[in-house]
């Protein structure tokens, strides 16, 4: 984290102050006043206060009814989206609608089933494995996460024209990146989150530009905004847990501290031949994927590569292409990639 960060945010504030306030006028003024009136209780102990904020964030990510627009930036790529999140006696539901490019929309229901609708097609995806966002789990996993990241309270800020509180999450070693999140003072909702590389430069960001609490579930919430021509298309759910590590002889001998196997999938291989093993390792915040598929005579992907904001490491083990991908420093994908071993039954490597 460098000194440049507060300055960067100041620049953002200056921008919003000059543009947003002037152009959104009295609407924003009213929201601002409301946000300022409802300040959270602040405990004296910073650790307790952080836990309070994370609890609040977790609660808001599951229980709030809100509507907002945000910009999602990943490297040089940027897109804007609208989100409507509702939670009532029928459970938690969410709609994400793209605001630029071709129409895309995802509707997630309370069971975690996601319906993806574009202007050309529609499909239903079993998204239960990843439906519960990390936000909702972060506070309960805090003890574990804190071994690898230091949490600290930043100053007050403003995002989506609301008063916000900054929480800095700084890695304790060089195997992971840091985060900076801005939480709504009133509700704890996440208004901005940045993934920061080792130099404190944001790699991936979600920045809310509007955020509005809803009194009731909007009537249109049950209807997708775009309709595909093939509404019954359905994908097979990823067979999670199909192959446990070791079952098929693949082992990760050495991973950076804290990275534990969280998921194990088996996907059809990209080019139609056989299957691809996909293991997801996480330290609670960062995720690294390990893909293993049979080499098909194509040029193997070897060594370190950068793909967007992610780093990748490729190697060949036992006639298989092994590729490690993650939004983590190079050293992490490299260490994991180099430690992939194939151990056939009987113990021979």
């Amino acid at each position: 984290m460098s000194l440049s960060q507060p300055v960067r945010w100041r620049a953002g504030r200056r921008f919003f102050a000059s543009h947003a306030l002037r152009r959104l006028g009295c609407f924003c003024g009213a929201s601002l006043l409301a946000a300022m009136l409802v300040q959270p209780a602040r405990a004296g102990d910073p650790a307790a206060e952080i836990r309070l904020w994370l609890d609040k964030m977790s609660h808001s990510s599951q229980k709030l009814n809100y509507e907002g627009t945000f910009i999602y930036r990943r490297g040089e790529q940027m897109t804007s989206m609208k989100i409507i999140h509702v939670a009532d006696e029928n459970g938690e539901r969410e709609r994400l609608i793209s605001l630029d490019g071709p129409m895309r929309e995802i509707i997630r229901d309370s069971r975690g089933m996601a319906r993806i609708v574009t202007d050309k097609k529609a499909m239903t995806v079993d998204n239960r494995g990843s439906s519960r966002s990390l936000l909702s789990k972060m506070s309960e996993q805090l003890d574990q996460i804190e071994k690898y990241y230091a949490f600290s309270l930043g100053g007050d800020s403003r995002a989506a024209n609301r008063q916000a509180r900054i929480i800095n999450i700084v890695p304790r070693d060089a195997y992971r990146y840091g985060y900076r999140v801005a939480l709504d003072q009133q509700t704890g909702a996440l208004l901005q989150s940045d993934l920061l590389n080792e130099h404190g430069i944001p790699l991936e960001q979600v920045v809310f530009i509007t955020f509005e609490l809803l009194d009731k579930v909007p009537a249109g919430m049950r209807e997708p905004a775009v309709r595909g021509e093939a509404p019954h298309a359905q994908s097979a759910p990823p067979p999670a847990g199909h192959a446990l590590p070791g079952d098929d002889g693949w082992k990760i001998v050495k991973a950076p501290p804290g990275f534990l196997l969280a998921e194990n999938y088996r996907h059809p291989a990209a080019h139609g031949h056989g299957f691809m093993n996909h293991m997801v390792f996480t330290d609670g915040l960062a995720s690294v994927s390990v893909f293993i598929e049979k080499s098909r005579g194509a040029a193997p992907f070897l060594g370190v590569s950068r793909i967007g904001v992610a780093n990748a490491y490729g190697t060949r083990v036992n006639d298989h292409q092994v590729t490690v991908v993650g939004e983590v420093p190079v050293g992490t994908v490299e260490m994991i990639g180099k430690s992939v071993k194939y151990q056939a039954e009987g113990g021979a490597k």
């Binding site: 790529q77 993806i116 999450i169 690294v288 040029a299």
Partner: protein, 188 residues
Amino acid sequence: MTEKFNEKISAFMDGDLTAHEARQVIEEMKRSPVSRVCWGRYHLIGDALKNNLPSTIQHDLAARISQVIEAEPVLPITFAPRKKTTVISSFFKPLAGLAVAASVAAVAVVSFDMGGASSTAQVQTMAAAPPPVLAVNHPPAALVAAPLVVDEAEAQSRLENYLVNHSQYSTSVVVQPAVRMVGYAPNE
């Protein structure tokens, strides 16, 4: 330095700079691609705030056009006298740029249709669409003098597939997988 400059860009957009400062900002933006991206981003945010977003935003269009122009072979006007060559070159350069821009647009339309046509109902298909940023790094093959190495292209496509799978199945503090799925949807 950059942050301060970004503030200046913001002020420039507000019309808060003196003529001299404004000139400095323009000169700096000519030099620095980073500040041009910032300029574009601020405008996009401004448009989003005003609910004034068009249906399609090609925030990197200028960069893509520049990239393709860079890859263009030099116009073969070697027979002309030296001075005249310079004049013609500098005159034709923007036109060449326009033609290339049109080609880029055509390529964009073609890939859009291809993406739409391959609508097999499978998550993998959806996920396999390459993130646009990667497409940007590869000028359309037909417009580049050197042919793409097939193996590299295949390795790239495989990497992209891995990345999309990774994004879809891993959680993140910054975004939930669904956001990445919408962000990475096909046809980009």
